[in-house]
């Protein structure tokens, strides 16, 4: 198994930490992982993205040009990364703020209204966990108990009290993700 994922959106949406939790979940099930962020001033409120690769064998390049799955959280990222999803691959996006939805017909497209749901849950900080839930529903590459272990590893201990709420947000994301185009 090898999964090459790009997660892209605005800085502050929790893109990098979502990628980190995913990567740690991979480690918890003995996989090789890489987590390669965009970095620099663009992170301060501009676009941010992270490439996460999970694999059963050694990972050569941490940088790739095409992805098995793209998780897209703003228009700029959709414009940039829709074309880089492998044919037959997956694109999951939050329609919040998207004026021009994805158009490709040779990939599986899902949408998840995570921003809206986070607002309904009255906690914007769970936004990225809702998105993660949507991803895991579509691509169940890591087991839930490994995700919880991954959460424990990547969250500072003072935030471990929030893990049940994070888990709830992930489960909520699994429920609300919708199919747009299925091959």
């Amino acid at each position: 198994m090898k999964e090459e994922i790009i997660i892209a959106g605005f800085g502050g949406q929790g893109v990098l930490s979502m990628g980190k939790i995913l990567a740690y979940s991979g480690i918890m099930q003995d996989q090789e992982v890489t987590w390669m962020p965009s970095y620099g001033p663009e992170m301060r409120g501009g676009t941010a993205n992270v490439t996460v690769i999970l694999s059963d064998s050694n990972i050569s390049s941490p940088i790739v040009n095409t992805y098995d799955t793209a998780v897209i959280l703003n228009q700029q990222s959709l414009d940039k990364f829709e074309q880089m999803v492998k044919p037959g691959g997956y694109l999951i996006y939050d329609p919040n703020g998207i004026m021009h939805p994805p158009t490709r017909k040779d990939i599986n497209v899902y949408k998840i209204e995570a921003a809206e749901e986070a607002a309904a849950m009255k906690n914007a900080r769970f936004f990225n966990m809702i998105v993660l839930g949507g991803f895991l529903k579509v691509k169940p590459i890591v087991k839930m108990d490994n995700v919880i272990k991954g959460l424990k590893k990547s969250l500072p201990e003072r935030h471990h009290g929030l893990i049940p709420q994070n888990e709830e947000a992930i489960k909520r994301g699994m429920e609300i993700v919708q199919e747009v185009n299925k091959l």
């Binding site: 992982v33 890489t34 390669m36 620099g40 050569s60 390049s61 941490p62 990547s154």
Partner: protein, 361 residues
């Protein structure tokens, strides 16, 4: 088996420094390596091991603090990125000239000038061929993973003290910023002052005890004849390093028709390109120099009889390729593929270069 931790290359450097008994880190913030100083100040190693961590006023000050610390016989280090390392080059030359051990980390970004903060390998010449003034050499280690960022800290100190010579870890923004899983090195205690006296008291400024002459750390000798003798001694040391310390990783090289030579991040990209090439039936091997100085010249030469061509892949306009060509001596074609200014070559681009520059020729 020890626990595997997900961490950035930069964080791995910091954690490895504490764990290998480093006595002092002196540094100045610069992207993309500031996490090294940030991680150290967050972890407060001075409470646990007594390690000194100091944010200096400039890279110039940092490298001269390293000079002072190295003169004391202590395990000291600094880290920076390209423009900062340029500023350090004077000090590096002094350290080499005074034959002091120390560890330097360059998390390279694109240049020239202020350049970009994106990853690059355009400081190869600076690291391997000098950078500062005078005939000196640093031992240069090129990690290709976060695990190697961890491992090369301890190895770097070992080599630095073995040869009383500066050692540089030449990394880049990819390896520095990327997270991978790491198995941490076992904790090594710092040397006590008594141990340092025993190990390095013959040369280090540990305080002039009654039973020895005073120690002098300097790179100055105004007498040209003596200075030449000293230079010959340095060169003899470098020949010794070249004989003993070459490190290289070879993948599928034995029956390869074509060879990629690449280090660090470029080697990771090239490995994927090699895999893609094998899917298309092209027999490509990958030679990854781990030490850039000393360079694996002999290892490249040994492969030449069955090679039709070599592709050097770098994130620069072509620097290491000169050392490949020196090794090859014109016996097979040596081609180049690189991206510069902070751009990263993709595996597909490298595969294309293998096809157009080597196979179709």
């Amino acid at each position: 088996m020890a626990e595997k931790i997900l961490m950035k290359g930069n964080e791995a450097i910091a954690v490895a420094a504490i764990r290998c008994g480093c006595d002092g880190y002196f540094g100045y913030p610069i992207t993309p390596q500031s996490e090294i100083l940030e991680t150290l100040t967050e972890m407060r190693p001075w409470d646990e091991t007594g390690m000194v961590v100091l944010q200096a006023e400039s890279e110039t000050a940092s490298i001269n603090m390293v000079y002072g610390g190295g003169a004391c016989g202590k395990k000291v280090m600094t880290s920076s990125s390209s423009p900062g390392v340029s500023l350090m080059c004077e000090g590096i030359s002094y350290i080499a000239g005074a034959e002091l051990p120390c560890l330097l980390v360059n998390v390279v970004r694109g240049g020239p000038g202020l350049g970009t903060i994106q990853p690059s390998q355009s400081d190869y010449f600076q690291a391997v061929k000098g950078g500062g003034h005078g005939d000196y050499k640093m031992i240069v280690l090129a990690p290709a993973s976060v695990q190697e960022m961890n491992d090369f800290v301890d190895m770097g100190f070992e080599l630095a003290f073995k040869y009383r010579n500066p050692v540089m870890i030449l990394s880049d923004g990819i390896i520095g910023q990327m997270m991978e899983k790491v198995e941490l090195s076992p904790m090594k205690p710092r040397w006590t002052d008594e141990e340092i006296k025993k190990l390095h008291g013959s040369w280090a400024t540990t305080g002039k005890d009654a039973d020895r002459n005073y120690n002098l750390i300097t790179s100055l000798d105004l007498d040209a004849a003596r200075q030449e003798k000293f230079n010959q001694k340095l060169q003899a040391k470098y020949r010794e390093i070249e004989k003993n310390e070459v490190r290289v990783e070879q993948t599928l090289c034995d029956d390869a028709e074509y060879l990629i030579v690449a280090y660090g991040s470029s080697a990771r990209v090239s490995q994927k390109a090699m895999e893609l090439a094998h899917e298309e039936g092209i027999k490509v091997g990958l030679l990854r120099p781990i030490t850039l100085y000393p360079y694996p010249t002999a290892q490249i030469q040994a492969l030449l009889p069955h090679l039709k061509g070599i592709l050097t892949v770098e994130m620069s306009a072509g620097q290491m390729i000169e050392d490949v060509r020196l090794a090859v001596e014109g016996k097979v074609p040596v081609e180049f593929y690189g991206r510069a200014g902070g751009m990263i070559p993709s595996p597909e681009e490298v595969l294309e270069a293998i096809k157009t520059k080597l196979v179709k020729k």
